[in-house]
């Protein structure tokens, strides 16, 4: 824990305003599912802004790796320790952390049901569990066979499996990356992965090739990525977009073959990222339904408070939420958590939250010293998050190496600052 963080917490802890004597009942109990960027941010926010509110955070595991910066681990550019954290700092900040498997979410009672039968109930329940995979979309791809073609789209064992497979890539071998149809977590993430793998292979296996089988036609920061690929990795990356039958429809994990509707591709190493939807616990609870009862796959929320459209007192943050135009990113989950936390405190105080601008900045690395960003502002419009300025959202193309190097530096600075604030 940094000195700055410690003094920040001490300073806030001394505030009597929303604090109560230890013996008194809490002003309110907030139960949070998921200690990723949405859940951890909300827990931190509430502990800092309202020490009288009790915060219980439930996650299946204490140790975690972050998805941001995991592509560099996969490419062998930095160690897994750099993206590995635990929840001890959240405990130290006064959050009650329960490490347990959650078997059901009960919106009507604002309860989480744990595997051992315990129930954790709050006056407010905030759900930030992230994504689950749609294993129906690609024939032959299952949670088990996926380990031989790791998606690594939730950081952890899959990240390390893909790293290890890539480090054993034969001389001149072929890496196949399968990208799903949108929406998915971290829209530029697959293309950063391609870039950093290319960077690693360029020196240690320069005749290797990367084949990208893409379920999308266009993609986030496309001109920036393609400019970098042409400059840094000429001839190494081939991409087949959806319009040219690039979408992966089947795999044969035993023979390491990846199939589109047009062709079968032999892979030495494959990373096949499945289609995504909100975490299954939320879908099973009906939180992904529209007002006619149709399952949407993602959970509709009011974009001002992030309260579920299906259940009062239940709030949904981050990748699982259907809020409008914000991307599924760590940065977005963090700012949504602050907006949600303010809405909860406003409700406790008997007022309505005021709409405010929320930012999203996503950096991508095309190489360790070559980065660029998309930087956007959003605000609630008619209950949805709306993008405020549609033009000129990214780092320009045709800039100098110094500009892209500076952006790579900002990326790392952001990551260090962000993860330290949450987990450090």
């Amino acid at each position: 824990m940094s000195l700055q963080r410690r003094s920040f917490l001490t300073g806030l802890g001394a505030m009597p305003l929303l604090a109560r004597p230890l013996a008194a009942a809490p002003l309110a109990r907030v139960v949070i599912l998921g200690a990723g960027f949405g859940g951890a941010s909300l827990a931190r926010f509430l502990r800092a802004a309202a020490p009288g509110v009790s915060v219980t955070l439930v996650d299946r595991q204490d140790a975690r790796m972050t998805c941001p910066f995991s592509n560099g681990v996969i490419a062998g550019l930095w160690p897994a320790a750099e993206i590995s954290f635990d929840l001890s700092a959240l405990r130290a900040a006064g959050v009650t952390v329960i490490t347990a498997e959650v078997t059901a979410v009960e919106p009507e009672t604002r309860s989480l049901v744990l595997a051992d039968g315990r129930r954790v109930t709050g006056d407010f329940m905030v759900l930030s569990p992230g994504i689950s995979f749609d294993w129906q979309a690609i024939a032959g791809l299952t949670p088990e066979t996926s380990l031989s073609m790791p998606h690594a789209w939730t950081a952890g064992p899959q990240t390390l499996a893909l790293r290890d497979q890539l480090s054993a890539l034969p001389e001149g071998g072929r890496v196949v990356i399968g990208i799903p149809r949108p929406p998915f977590r971290c829209p530029p993430g697959p293309y950063e992965r391609i870039s950093l793998i290319a960077h690693a292979l360029k020196t240690r296996n320069p005749r290797a090739k990367i084949l990208v089988l893409d379920g999308q036609d266009s993609f986030s920061k496309q001109r920036l990525f393609e400019q970098a690929w042409a400059a840094l990795y000429p001839g190494m990356i081939e991409r087949i977009p959806a319009a040219d039958m690039g979408t992966v429809i089947g795999v044969d994990p035993k023979n390491h073959v990846v199939s589109t509707a047009f062709d079968d591709h032999k892979a030495d190493v494959a990373s096949i990222i499945p289609q995504q939807q909100a975490a299954s616990l939320l879908r099973e609870a009906g939180l992904d339904r529209d007002d006619k009862g149709t399952a949407l796959g993602w959970c509709p929320v009011d974009a001002l408070s992030f309260e579920s459209r299906r259940a009062d007192g239940v709030y949904i943050l981050g990748d699982a939420a259907l809020q409008g135009e914000m991307p599924k990113s760590a940065f977005a989950a963090n700012v949504q958590a602050a907006a949600c936390g303010r809405a909860i405190l406003a409700k406790l105080g008997g007022s309505a939250p005021a709409p405010t601008v929320l930012l999203n900045v996503c950096y991508s690395l095309a190489a360790p010293d070559y980065g660029f960003s998309i930087a956007d502002a959003y605000a609630p419009r008619d209950g949805r998050m709306a993008l405020l300025a549609a033009e000129g959202r990214t780092t320009p193309i045709g800039e100098t190496a110094q500009v892209y190097a500076a952006e790579a530096g900002y990326a790392r600075s952001w990551y260090n600052s962000f993860t330290t604030a949450l987990y450090g």
């Binding site: 700055q4 963080r5 003094s7 920040f8 300073g11 806030l12 001394a14 505030m15 305003l17 929303l18 926010f45 800092a48 802004a49 309202a50 940065f331 963090n334 700012v335 602050a338 907006a339 303010r342 405190l345 406003a346 105080g349 008997g350 007022s351 309505a352 939250p353 005021a354 405010t356 601008v357 929320l358 930012l359 900045v361 960003s373 930087a375 956007d376 502002a377 605000a379 405020l388 300025a389 000129g392 959202r393 780092t395 320009p396 800039e399 500009v403 500076a406 952006e407 530096g409 900002y410 790392r412 600075s413 952001w414 260090n416 600052s417 962000f418 604030a421």
Partner: protein
Amino acid sequence: MRRAARFLVLSLLAAGPGTAQTAGPSGAALAASCISCHGAAGAGAGSIPAIAAPDAGALFARLAALRDAADQGPQIMPRLLRVYSDAELQALAAYFAKDRP
């Protein structure tokens, strides 16, 4: 730091029923999007510069100049600041000026 915390909590409490429209933009609410990169105190992090400043007027002028520059350059902040009104930038400047160490 302590003053920042007080400001945060006070501004959370200040918004009573019906005050949202008349109170003007909340610096604390807006700042939640800034601290992700610039740190909780706005002190900067790594190569990301500090926003915290002793004087709110000077900080507002700096933010407005970044927003209004004819040549926006390749950097991130002009892209982000272009959507903010003067009132929003003033609220942010007041927040981060109070937040100085």
